[in-house]
Symmetry: C2
């Protein structure tokens, strides 16, 4: 649940590259994995994991370096993934959504709807279950008022099956 944000300040900003083209790939102002991580709110480890899993494409390794280099499109894709994950979509669902987004823009978006609605139903189910659990837990806790010794503890009693 905790998403680490890593301080990742570029030590030397290359001068004279003000115009940020929104359609830029890796061409303009390549990012290191750490910078990409900072921009998209995930850790470098997670990005590498996504690459292994094929959720993001293999990064280019520009020039002589062995470092991965990223562009604006990669940052966008990662933010997409992060938002979807934050909404509770599984990585598998994210993969499907990405495939749809990557496909023909004229394709119907009913599959997107289907995935999203199925997920909403799952969330509702989990909510109901968790609410019921909370009620029960509250009941168990509130039974224990003024009891001081383990022998008479009503919480332990409830867990032991004493109703």
């Amino acid at each position: 649940m905790t998403r680490a944000r890593i301080a990742n300040v570029r030590r030397g900003a290359p001068p004279g590259e003000g115009a940020t083209d929104p359609r830029a790939g890796v061409a303009e102002a390549p990012l290191t994995i750490g910078e990409l991580a900072t921009q998209s709110g995930v850790t470098p480890e997670t990005i590498r994991y996504y690459e292994r899993e094929g959720v993001v494409p293999e990064a280019a390794r520009e020039g002589a370096g062995r470092y991965r280099r990223y562009g604006a499109a990669d940052a966008e894709r990662l933010r997409f993934i992060r938002r979807a994950r934050d909404l509770g979509f599984s990585l598998g669902e994210v993969r499907e959504l990405l495939a749809l987004a990557d496909g023909n823009p004229r394709d119907p978006c009913c599959d997107v709807n289907r995935i999203a609605r199925a997920h909403l139903a799952q969330v509702d189910a989990k909510l109901a279950q968790l609410a019921a659990l909370r009620t029960e837990l509250d009941r168990v806790i509130n039974a224990c008022d003024g009891v001081v010794a383990v022998a008479e503890c009503r919480i332990l009693g409830a867990l032991s099956g004493v109703t």
Copy 2:
């Protein structure tokens, strides 16, 4: 979430052992792991896993057999564990609760309270988070009315950061 229940009917009930002493250990009417599983609502694999993890003690292997043998106390302990797990306590928390239940009955039960209340707080936090997520997901889905092509899909748009 699905807890398998296994049919486990004793093929030959040993005769003449009617009195079920609630304080009985392994002495009276030993159970196989499968029978214990049926009685306590977990699978044999889970019981063995709990033994490996030290949540339940190592089972006695009565007589010449290599089979684990259990008594009423073991069934009780497992039911305790299952109830606590059903209430969402982690195995670590279950371990703590068991240690408290195993300890001196005259010890104060404030630790039990602390664990239970901490867990309730966690559940509440998760509930709030899930409810917020649901709201957001619903908003995303409802934005998409009558859109037919992926290019204009508002769900994908929302995930891409278009607000």
